[in-house]
Symmetry: C2
Subunit: 399 residues, 2 copies
């Protein structure tokens, strides 16, 4: 009798799309697939025993506080620990429900419809998704194999920009790291042009050699919003990240946080604090670095052995990803179909671009796949690319 | 040398305000204060032993899965448990980081700047905060001591409304429950007028007598977004809530959820599931009801004993709040200052109104305060109100 309800969605809801990665992950859950698609850390790196002991301490000491509502800013001792680690006052720290939430909160308080927002080329897909809801005008900053080019940040390019979003360390998706001189030049230009920097740093601790470059935050604490995460150094299933920001910006972010979810779970915050405050990460992070460095080298060797001429890729010094560029004119989405038919998966590069996608790129994640499968998977990818290249030549000749 | 950074905030950031409750809670953290202000459940109701056992099972069975990323929709077995409890398919369930996040997600996908959104008079402050970010035009629906008046929902009033937000059970802040006949009339009118209903139900299980009225969801599953919460029946520090919605709406909400925080922590979801799936709540909820019912009665008795004539209040059959109305022309904010000077606190009523606040109202929470302090605190409030009333008469005479 009744007509079904016809809801009216918001204009921004129309901009919502499922992440390409998420859709591909669904396909690649089949056990026979060698998947280089996911961005999951290796579960071998989760400090299970330390977290179990931390849980036991929570229940022994003060379980009611860990189960009760808490302050929107986050658990005091954890804010202090984070502040100390980054050399900032704890009052500048806000705990978030994963680093993804930080992107949402920043989008909320900084972006109006049409606001220019500067991003790297390419950049992190999840940030494009989060910011898109607030309908910015993305401006892609010219970037090369070392990352974004500070000299491209002319007053014309940055005019009216609400912020520049950057991942200086082992960027998702390329794995590249911004060199020291570029960091200095970036911070100087931003300062001169009243440009707020958003520094997203989930991978900074994952330098295989252990060397770390200074954060943008450390170079100009009053001009940078810094995003940190426990997902890659402790466990992503806790969904724990944090923001460090100048007081006036943090104040607005805390208000937005309160409206978003009141606060990040008391239980997971205390769990993390119990685990890290006694120095767990000092022994734990080197073990992650060693594992990921070896996995990366295995994949680099396999690429060198199996990829046909004309294919290039990044050589990361940290993090979880390698970025591959096929010869001009090839489409990584078409090749993905052929790869999946042979049970190998990756993420095509196009969704990582805010503008003018390079469709001949793709991302490889190497941290969860065993070495022998990395070798086998890359060998198959090499054959698939070789076949596509061979098929392409006659077509070109016919044209 | 450098000028400090001058960030440009979004237009919506200007609408952000700290919750009045939050600011008052800061004052009332002093131990000498008898606080009826907070909305915290009693920690005496947290099933600590059951949660500790649940934690032990997680670490014994599959800790790596509880520490890894998970699906945006939530943990499968928990979705099934919730679906079964509400008689809906698990595919209609989305886990959220507290019920507050559900309000944010609904605001995101349903509200454009200027969209009419219907709310009760008064309504939940946290919902006004969450929706306000998306700049709706709030329309207050006439309500009385039994809740909103369905006959007020004329086509003129509901024209273009994106949804009607309602708390039918033991509403925050009034404690009132919408009678069955009004529920039926509300659902019928909404159906006839293509009006989406958002049913927020954190207190539905807390009926002191144990009797429950049918949810709006059960009356029209295809026309209602239902919000549930574990905060009042398990523990708020887990930040676990959920949405049940028609498929097309849930699909958009899941996309917004992914951009907001990828997913609710795997760990807390599994913790809740381990605790509830063996039937914990069947014994646990009656104990909460008995405690809260007794606390409520203590406060009702104290109000009857100590409040001067002309003051009225609600008589809740469940939940955590009593709503007090002072004689016309009195201001509960002014009286709060006098009350705090005598170490008693409550939340003034004005922030709970979307339009035309009744400044002579306030909210009393009774679940965390011991009975003898309820008696003492209400006696003091009675004196403070009496003094204000007495001071008022000469002023009126002088005018």
């Amino acid at each position: 009798m009744d007509a079904p309800l016809r809801p009216t969605f918001s204009r921004r809801a129309a901009a919502l799309t499922s992440s390409a990665i998420r859709e591909i992950l669904k396909i690649t859950e089949r056990p026979e697939i060698i998947s280089f698609a996911g961005g999951l850390p290796s579960p071998a790196t989760f400090p299970v025993e330390a977290l179990q002991a931390a849980c036991a301490r929570i229940f022994a000491d003060n379980p009611h506080a860990a189960l009760q509502y808490g302050p929107s800013e986050g658990y005091g001792p954890l804010r202090e620990w984070i502040g100390k680690r980054h050399g900032v006052a704890p009052g500048r720290v806000l705990l978030t429900t994963g680093s993804q939430q930080a992107l949402d909160l920043i989008g909320k308080v900084m972006i109006d419809a049409g606001s220019p927002v500067l991003v790297e080329t390419p950049t992190y897909l999840g940030a494009l998704q989060a910011f898109s809801l607030f309908e910015p005008n993305f401006v892609s900053v010219p970037s090369d194999e070392s990352g974004l080019q500070p000299e491209a940040l002319t007053p014309e390019l940055t005019a009216g920009a609400r912020f520049l979003y950057a991942l200086p360390n082992f960027q998702n998706p390329t794995g590249r790291r911004l060199p020291l001189a570029r960091r200095q030049a970036l911070v100087e230009r931003a300062r001169a042009q009243n440009l707020l920097l958003v520094e997203d740093d989930p991978y900074g601790e994952l330098s295989y050699g252990g060397d770390q470059l200074p954060s943008l935050l450390s170079m100009n604490p009053d001009g940078v919003i810094y995003l940190g995460s426990f997902s890659k150094i402790l466990a992503p299933g806790l969904r724990l990240g944090y923001i460090i920001a100048p007081e006036d910006i943090l104040f607005k972010l805390v208000q937005a946080k309160q409206a978003a979810d009141l606060h990040t779970p008391s239980f997971t915050q205390r769990l993390a604090w119990e685990a890290v405050h006694t120095g767990l990460l000092d022994q734990h992070i080197p073990a992650i670095r060693a594992l990921y460095g070896a996995q990366c080298q295995t994949m680099l060797d396999a690429l060198a052995a199996h990829m046909p001429e004309g294919v290039t890729w990044t050589r990361p010094e940290g993090g979880m990803f390698i970025w591959v560029t096929l010869p001009e004119g090839m489409d990584s989405l078409t090749i993905l179909e052929a790869a999946i038919a042979r049970n190998v998966a990756y993420v095509p590069g196009a969704p990582f671009y805010a503008n003018n996608p390079c469709t001949n790129t793709f991302r490889l994640a190497f941290v969860t796949v065993p070495p022998e499968q990395i070798q086998r998977g890359v060998a198959i990818l090499g054959e698939v690319v070789q076949t596509a290249l061979a098929a392409r030549k006659p077509a070109a000749a016919m044209a």
